[in-house]
Symmetry: C2
Subunit: 287 residues, 2 copies
Amino acid sequence: MKQYIDLIEKTLDEYIPVKYPEEIYESMRYSVLAGGKRLRPTICLETCKIFGGNIEDALPIACAIEMLHVQSLIHDDLPCMDNDDYRRGKLSNHKAFSESTAVLAGDALISYAIQTVIEKSKNLSSDKILKLIELYTKAAGVEGIIGGQVVDIQSEGKKIDGEALEYIHTHKTADMFRFAFKAGGVVAGVSEDILNILDELGLKLGFAFQICDDILDETSTFEEMGKTLGKDEAEEKSTYTRIYGLKNAECKVNCLLDECYDILNKHNIKSEVIENIIASVKRKAKV
Amino acid sequence: MKQYIDLIEKTLDEYIPVKYPEEIYESMRYSVLAGGKRLRPTICLETCKIFGGNIEDALPIACAIEMLHVQSLIHDDLPCMDNDDYRRGKLSNHKAFSESTAVLAGDALISYAIQTVIEKSKNLSSDKILKLIELYTKAAGVEGIIGGQVVDIQSEGKKIDGEALEYIHTHKTADMFRFAFKAGGVVAGVSEDILNILDELGLKLGFAFQICDDILDETSTFEEMGKTLGKDEAEEKSTYTRIYGLKNAECKVNCLLDECYDILNKHNIKSEVIENIIASVKRKAKV
């Protein structure tokens, strides 16, 4: 894990230099280089490796996935969205810079990530690059994180059912995990069948990850998480824990993660890194 | 012109259906289908035709250019940016929907446009589609409209020189015209030399268009323009007219547009549509 994280940090730093007009690059760098677990790009690189691909070839799309993830956080934190002043223990982007710069930095990252994939993926065929961009736009857009985000905002203060919650979790969170697994697979050149398996793995892990996040929002402190907590309740957001209770949430996480292990075993996918990620979510979801 | 506009309107309407979650699609459609002159996609289609390409093949990228243009307007109008309640005589997106929906609709359009190009460009090679997406990301990003926008915001309330103003005009406005001309050329399969000529044409026409806009901001009424005017002065924006005066602005527009005619003549590019666009900018810039 550590090696991947170092490689991702170093590459993100290289991919986003500071040029004129400096403020926008500084703002993008501020959030992109603010640390974090780099789970999604790690999953992408590791999946590429598992299926015999070259990690170097997956670096541009792995970094693009992280840029997109950070973009969604910058805009999520805006006053008109979740209105959060802190992220990863630092001031959120619009507090460190300005609201207008945060809007523009987020906008910029969406296309900068794609530009990076095109410019840096020297060893990939045009068809592979196009397939990666297609996955990217679907994960980034109305069928992906934005769709999830819209339903999430609409559901504030309302009682929603399990189906609506599943829509939110699937698109707001799991779609990025599905994208990360599949992107690694595309770079390695796997078959459609394998892509479907990776999609299922990403869906289950992403879903578990989000429920775990809901649990931590109730049970952790600011110091542990580096962001404002208890906000779900304050904003009357429907979360898994609020609908089903903490204990059921933990059970659901365990169940989903066991299904991830089953998928790995069934298809003989061996990866210490992926297993460690699954184990860490399991550990954190303990109530 | 009319034929192109009708085709663009019809295709944009088809490209953005209403699906679940409806509000985000409605919000995207609200701004994308709000009319306007459709100049940029018209330029793209016409350029494709001039150089022997098939207009149908250029439709996806032409519509993507318009979606990107509309995206920039939605985010420009936000309270933290230009804070404009009206656009094209209608409430701006964040007033008709909500601020959070407007942020998300803009975000969605950036990737939706690219997704559309990939999914709808059935007759283009992967290499051509990639080239179009590369042009798109450069025009959309820190090297394009966002770079121009950042410097524009930074310069509010400050005295800036002609060089900084040229940077703003080039990137905030002209880059989209350059993109439109070049995208049409790419679809038609023109040479790099022709692309450079198209780039120059887009730069000069886009620059003239922006100075004309500065002139209209001072000399028009809300009824004529459908948006709040005199804002440049209220926000102490540096515009061409404020730096050089109205009469010099008109001269500059005429000079740039004459250079456009020269380029067309020199390279034997015959197009009534492009000539009409040039003539209409010339007419509007009369003080």
